[in-house]
């Protein structure tokens, strides 16, 4: 009697599914990064999700709703993001080459996230500045909401956005992580 699917068989199917281009989202959990486990999702258009909460259940539902129901764990398509993140955490990478896939987001969020992507490694900006650059200087609060809902933290560097007094204020992944990332980049001591 078969109690489990042999892992060779399981992994072979997952690899074949990706190789045949049948997935809307391939994801994998990077179990031990310096800021804890991360769930990473990719589409044909790039990385669509980095989550600090690697418990996939609710996460998979959201990915399916946004990108299509064919969501499957498969490590090969995630490999490139994994490598770039490793390099980033080791301090050997200052910008990501993998494209962020933000097509599923509202146009307003997309516009702000495109501005966010221009904030350089090792620097910080404020919610107000980012609002001004996106065309509405009074929308600092709205920018804060978009940062809070950023589906691809780290690659889209919402950790580099701080309050007008320089206070770190909030981070969806927790202030500890925000501080850790800014320290890694040398933006704070």
């Amino acid at each position: 009697m078969t109690d489990t699917v042999p892992s060779v068989l399981d992994e072979r199917f997952r690899a074949a599914a990706a190789a045949e281009g049948l997935l809307d989202v391939a994801y994998d959990v990077l179990a031990d990064t310096p800021i804890g486990a991360l769930l990473v999702g990719v589409t044909d258009h790039g990385v669509c999700r980095i989550s600090f909460d690697p418990d996939p259940d609710g996460e998979l539902e959201t990915l399916a709703r946004l990108h299509g129901s064919r969501v499957l764990r498969s490590s090969a398509p995630v490999e490139r993001v994994r490598r770039e993140l490793d390099e980033y955490f080791e301090g050997r990478r200052r910008r990501f080459e993998v494209e962020p896939d933000i097509r599923a987001l509202p146009a307003y969020n997309q516009r702000i996230l495109v501005e966010l992507a221009r904030v350089r490694y090792g620097s910080t900006t404020t919610y107000g500045t980012l609002a001004a650059r996106s065309g509405n200087p009074r929308a600092a609060r709205a920018v804060g909401t978009v940062m809070n809902r950023n589906p691809i933290p780290i690659v889209l560097p919402c950790h580099r956005v701080v309050g007008s007094t320089g206070k770190l204020t909030g981070y969806a992944g927790g202030l500890d992580r925000k501080e850790r990332l800014l320290r890694l980049e040398g933006a704070i001591l």
Partner: protein, 154 residues
């Protein structure tokens, strides 16, 4: 009125049914051939997944795909000239394509039972598993379906 179940992310569907599919294929094909058939079954399910309209009876659905793969496998394996056992079965039982339109008007459970029994020659024990009920309930659903079809066609 009951709501149709939502279509789960493929990962959830796959995790839920993979052991059962592998067991089913193992019984029908033996362990070695079951491994290739396993991958074919879920790749085929993945191709068809975006066309699903609801998440009801996904077990029956994936076992139906697995049965189809078993039939294809058996056809490939039989040398020409030899009378294949499965083909004989098929000449007795209409294929899914013929049964599908014929059974359209049946309640979902009866329809699944009829198609799995007469289209794919599954045993009532397997159909019971596929429908998430018992062997007896599967037998009853299939015969209720057949009775209903007789009434409709006469």
């Amino acid at each position: 009125m009951s709501m149709a179940a939502a279509i789960p992310p493929f990962e959830t569907f796959y995790e839920e049914h993979r052991i059962e599919v592998l067991r089913f294929l193992g019984r029908r094909l033996g362990r070695n051939r079951a491994e290739d058939a396993f991958q074919d079954t879920f790749l085929r399910a993945l191709r068809a997944y975006p066309r699903l309209e609801h998440g009801d009876h996904l077990r029956a659905w994936v076992l139906t795909i697995a049965s189809r793969i078993v039939l294809d496998e058996s056809r490939k394996r039989k040398p020409a000239g030899e009378l294949p056992e499965v083909a004989t079965e098929e000449s007795w039982h209409p294929a899914f394509e013929e049964l599908a339109p014929l059974t359209e008007g049946l309640p979902p459970k009866e329809r699944a039972a009829v198609v799995l029994r007469y289209g794919y020659d599954l045993g009532y024990d397997e159909i019971g598993v596929a429908l998430g009920s018992t062997e007896a309930a599967a037998r009853q659903a299939a015969s209720a379906g057949v009775r209903r079809l007789r009434k409709e066609t006469t």
